[in-house]
């Protein structure tokens, strides 16, 4: 009873009469722990909240595979995956702090309401101590805010918008995935090298927060190196046929098209752009190029042959260690155990989710407590290695991971449906690091909330 | 001066002259029948009277006020009620509820929000409705579903609903169309009873000459959108022009 998240408890007691008998004394599960859902048995429950229906269902399914693998490894099953290469050796394969890891799953439907409902049921019904997952920034921000209120740790899955660790950052939330700003910073030097510094860019931008931040980042970085932005047109999220947006691109005199689109939008806009033959055109004496700031394996699969030769950025790729060496150790260990279990290599969404689970478990072990505030302390400013992305920092100021960003290009002749992109370059972490207080990332982290 | 005065009404639909210079006067407290062959413009005329159609020219005065440009429900509130060719009742409602609605309409006007009190506690309205149902011999069916009634009873109910509003002019559009002989006679009796008991003007459009000659005090014959003759039933029966144009020599 010493600590309470319901800071108005004093008020609550005095207004018991006003509450007409409803204002019953508050106490939540396992009060002794002093935080929400303190695990009291010999198990601990994690909540995996991923899209299982709707357009991102396949991505959600891959995330879920990674989570199940992580749980298996934490509980000492399988070959241990990245636990063997992880720079921290706190994890012993005996669950988390000796408690066997169990999990519950839910469907976010890629809607913030549904995602919150699902997360709440995990917290209120299943007693989950940590929530992780998601494949869009809207969902990540919504669930992160919920976890902050409830006193639960949120380990974000795939979310790329600046807002998650910017405008909407929360003390209880952590993001391993990279963001729009980093995409811009990582791509710019590669673009200068590949396409030159004298280019005219035309942006098509998904008309919502993530689109805005991505366009901002791309414009800022490309304009800084000398590119001119000819035009930037916003496209509705619900658009399926982008012909009327693609057709005027050539007329504008642009020689680069930047598609600030994700998921179905990206698959369709890229397919349409290739259909219009943009890639075969020569404008201003230069080969016309298309850029997709944020790549994903599933999108690449959806776009098929259309991605060949198209540059973009990724958080991670399963060929990283093979092609770029030991710096990215952990990659092969993960790919191997994932591949053995499921028969195909993991996506970057799977990797980020797997890593987030491991990082959470490790933080609990190191902190010696499931208390969210202890976990936050253990993760803040934590430097680690061996989880596939090279040396990484979980920055204390905004709970964002800083690590190398992979720049990839769609393969001309893919061997199989899992090997669609080639790694062009890896932009080192220093080049994509920004100050935590730049205007794009303004927001208040607040203080950690342990809940009840 | 009649209660209903129609002057120089014209209505064209594209190339078709539906009504041409219709002049008609219906005297108060009479039964006035309008007859004519198919396409003579009877229905068009009726739709003009109830506000469903607006004529191109002319005037329609009811009790000294123009009805033109008013909405059907406003014209109804002026005192003109209409009975349809196929009975238009509230099929989803009970017989009693059917009868309550016109009484509400009479009492509360075209719109009045009464969302709080229960309809079942409107004693006065229910009493009036039950009285009306009794006079129509429908009291036993009051809690029945009106859609389940026979066509004849639906017709009675519809006429009763119109009467419940205490209209000054009752318009009937072929009230016995498609009815069995017995139902037709019942309806004629009901209308006769109404005529005897109330101060009411009735305008009736009808094909069935049996009905027309049983009820009408004056008859107007329409042909090709214009009134051909207007007279008493006896005169109309013998009128050569009418026999020629409408009834046919054999009638």
């Amino acid at each position: 009873m010493s600590k309470s998240n319901f800071t108005r408890r004093g008020l609550l007691k005095t207004s018991a009469v006003a509450g007409a008998g409803l204002a019953l004394p508050t106490y939540l599960r396992a009060q002794e722990g002093g935080f929400t859902n303190a695990p009291d048995g010999d198990t601990v429950t994690l909540g995996f909240n991923v899209p299982q229906s709707g357009p991102y269902a396949d991505e959600g399914a891959d995330e879920l595979r990674a989570y199940e693998l992580a749980v298996e490894h934490l509980n000492g099953g399988g070959d241990g995956g990245m636990m063997q290469t992880f720079s921290s050796d706190a994890l012993q394969g005996n669950g988390i702090m000796g408690k066997k890891v169990e999990f519950v799953t839910g469907d976010t439907q890629t809607k913030s309401d549904a995602a919150r409902a699902s997360a709440k049921s995990m917290i209120e019904k299943d007693g989950a101590i940590m929530i992780t997952g998601g494949s869009s920034s809207g969902v990540a921000v919504a669930v992160q805010a919920l976890c902050q209120e409830a006193g639960i740790i949120f380990m974000a899955g795939l979310t790329h918008s600046n807002d998650t660790t910017g405008k909407d950052k929360k003390a209880n939330g952590f993001r391993h995935f990279f963001n729009s700003w980093m995409s811009g910073a990582a791509l710019a030097p590669v673009l200068a090298g590949e396409y030159g510094k004298d280019r005219k860019a035309y942006h098509l931008t998904a008309d919502y927060n993530w689109g805005y931040t991505t366009e901002d980042a791309m414009r800022k970085e490309t304009e800084a190196m000398g590119w001119e932005t000819v035009n930037a047109v916003k496209t509705p999220l619900t658009q399926t046929d982008f012909s009327s947006y693609i057709a005027p691109v050539l007329q504008s005199g642009a020689d680069v098209l930047i598609l600030n689109h994700y998921g179905g939008n990206m698959v369709n806009s890229l397919t349409n752009a290739v259909q219009f033959g943009l890639r075969e055109k020569t404008v201003n004496g230069k080969q016309f190029e298309i850029i997709v700031p944020l790549y994903s394996e599933l999108m690449a699969r959806g776009a098929g042959k259309n991605i060949s030769g198209i540059l973009g950025s990724q958080n991670w790729d399963w060929k990283l260690e093979n092609e770029k060496g030991d710096r990215y150790k952990g990659t092969n260990a993960f790919v191997q155990s994932f591949g053995e279990k499921y028969g195909f290599p993991p996506s970057q969404a799977a990797q980020t989710c797997y890593v987030q689970t491991l990082l959470y478990a490790d933080a609990v072990e190191r902190a010696g407590s499931f208390n969210p505030c202890a976990v936050v302390e253990a993760l803040e400013g934590y430097e680690f290695d061996g989880l596939g992305n090279g040396p990484t920092l979980y920055r204390a100021a905004d709970h964002q991971c800083f690590k190398d960003v992979v720049v990839v290009r769609g393969k001309e002749n893919p061997e199989n449906e899992f090997d669609l992109v080639e790694i062009v370059e890896v932009t080192p972490a220093e080049k994509v690091t920004y100050e935590p207080d730049i205007p794009e990332f303004e927001g208040t982290l607040g203080e950690c909330n342990p809940g009840a | 001066m009649g209660i209903l005065e129609i002057k120089n009404v014209n209505k064209r639909f594209g190339g078709l002259q539906a009504l041409g210079d219709v002049n008609l006067s219906v005297a108060e407290n009479t039964v006035h029948a309008i007859i004519g062959p198919n396409g003579a413009g009877k229905s068009t005329l009726l739709n003009v009277l109830v506000g469903k159609l607006i004529p191109d020219t002319g005037s329609v005065m009811f009790d000294g006020q123009s009805v033109l440009g008013r909405k059907p429900y406003e014209i109804n509130q002026m005192g003109i009620s209409r009975v349809f060719q196929t009975p238009e009742i509230f099929g989803d409602l009970t017989v009693l509820e059917n009868m309550m609605i016109p009484i509400f309409a009479k009492r509360d006007g075209a719109f009045r929000m009464r969302a709080i009190g229960a309809a079942a506690s409107e004693r006065e309205v229910i009493e009036q409705a039950e009285l009306m149902l009794e006079s129509l011999n429908l009291a036993d069916a009051r809690h029945d579903h009106s859609a389940a009634m026979s066509r004849g009873n639906k017709r009675r109910l519809e006429i009763g609903m119109c009467l419940a509003q205490e209209p000054r002019l009752l318009l009937l559009d072929e009230p016995t169309a498609g009815m069995a002989r017995a139902d037709t006679n019942n309806t004629i009796d009901l209308l006769k009873q109404i005529k005897d008991e109330r101060d009411i003007t009735i305008a009736i459009i009808e094909h069935d000459m049996h009905v027309v000659f049983s009820l009408a005090e004056r008859i107007t014959v329409l042909a090709q959108g214009s009134p051909l003759v207007e007279d008493t039933p006896d005169k109309i029966k013998g009128h050569p022009k009418v026999r020629e144009a409408y009834l046919g020599e054999s009638a």
């Binding site: 204002a23 004394p25 | 238009e88």
Partner: protein, 402 residues
């Protein structure tokens, strides 16, 4: 009693009892048992039952009584939500002003939309309402981002003005409350292996549901309600009985819009966050489906329909492969795997499939919705001589016309 007939009052009592004892009724299985998966008695879902119940009851006043099929009611819910969260950001975290404003704003918005849309009827009306709602959604998602927060929506922030509230102490967060009663405050009762949660927010929502249900009975039974049914039954006769159908329909539209606004406000009060997809056409479609599934034009139907849909969405969707294996682990291996393979497509990520099948089965075998199911059970009981009062009451709520 309370201006209701005996039967209606009994129905109100049933609904009140169900709402008050929901924490017990919805948690019939002991914690830790395999069946605990089916427990729905946790605050968030109970709140959702109440909130969507209100939404559907309101929708039913329009659709069930007048027959006007609005395909844009989610817009009113969304607008109500935005109004509520802004009130909580700017004025106070007390939910009362927020909910009042959400009802008022949703009412005003529905007045505008209804005034325009009701110039047409039938499918034309449906498309007009759909168009308004889709425009609201699209704009809220994109160009109105400064007001609506766009994709990421709006949440309470530490630095919101909250003019009426005292400044937050360090470490304190803004919480939705009713005069200090925190919406997240819960009391837990352990009874052997059973666990029951009594949540303050849920009881606020339940009180609103009971009030909303009571008002809807009053409206159904009022002369106004009779007029609305008359519109649905025969608009021509309505007009030729001297009644102006449009203001009646508009009043029903606004009332149902205000119900939607209340539901939207409650959503924010229970869970302080708003996102635009709340207004997407599928959300409007959902309330249509809830109402029809339960039984349009009946009093209790919409509440049942919303309950079934929300239950599927929140409970069935969480049953995953490992839970299935746990359930059937006592079986011989081959049989276990066969059974899991058989059931798996219908649960967890396949919950939509089950929902679709339920829609079809209900509409094929119970043309009047779930209420007709209750009706049939009621008849069965009566034939056996032991008619249960509640079943009978529920059963007789159905308009015989349907």
């Amino acid at each position: 009693m309370l201006g209701l007939t005996k039967k209606d009052f009994a129905l109100l009592l049933v609904v009140t009892a169900l709402a008050l004892f929901a924490p017990f009724i919805l948690n019939p299985f002991p914690e830790g048992s395999g069946m605990a998966q089916f427990n729905a008695g946790y605050p968030d879902l109970m709140q959702r039952f109440a909130i969507f119940g209100i939404f559907a009851i309101g929708f039913n006043i329009l659709f069930g009584l007048t027959g006007y099929l609005s395909f844009g009611h989610a817009a009113f819910l969304g607008v109500g939500s935005y109004a509520a969260i802004w009130m909580m950001k700017l004025l106070t975290d007390n939910i009362l002003p927020a909910m009042l404003l959400s009802v008022v704003i949703a009412g005003l918005f529905s007045l505008v939309v209804g005034y325009i849309s009701l110039r047409r009827s039938g499918i034309y009306f449906a498309i007009l309402t759909l168009a308004f709602a889709q425009m609201s959604y699209a704009l809220a998602y994109s160009v109105l981002t400064p007001i609506t927060g766009g994709e990421t929506g709006l949440q309470l922030k530490l630095n919101d003005p909250r003019i009426l509230d005292a400044a937050l102490a360090p470490g304190e967060r803004a919480n939705a409350n009713l005069f200090g009663l925190d919406m997240t405050a819960s009391h837990e009762l352990y009874f052997g292996a059973w666990q029951f949660t009594f949540n303050a927010g849920y009881y606020i929502a339940a009180a609103c549901l009971i009030l909303a249900f009571y008002l809807s009975i009053r409206i159904f039974r009022s002369p106004f309600g009779m007029m609305l049914r008359a519109i649905k039954s025969n608009n021509t006769r309505m007009t030729y009985t001297g009644l102006n159908a449009r203001p009646y329909a508009l009043a029903a539209f606004v009332i149902s819009g205000m119900y939607a606004g209340l539901a939207g406000g409650l959503m924010v009060a229970m869970d302080t966050q708003v996102g635009p997809e709340r207004m997407f056409w599928t959300a409007s479609g959902e309330v249509v489906l809830m109402t029809i599934l339960g039984g349009a034009g009946t009093l209790i139907g919409p509440v049942l329909g919303s309950g079934v849909i929300k239950y599927m969405e929140n409970i069935i969707s969480k049953i995953n492969g490992s839970i299935l294996h746990e359930w059937f682990s006592w079986m011989p291996d081959g049989l276990e795997d066969a059974l899991v393979t058989l059931i798996y497509p219908f649960v967890g990520k396949g919950w939509h499939l089950t929902l679709g099948i339920v829609f079809m089965l209900v509409v094929i075998f119970l043309p009047g919705g779930l209420v007709e199911g209750g009706q049939r059970i009621g008849r069965m009981f009566r034939r056996n001589g032991g008619a249960s009062r509640a079943a009978k009451d529920i059963a007789e709520q159905r308009n015989p016309a349907e």
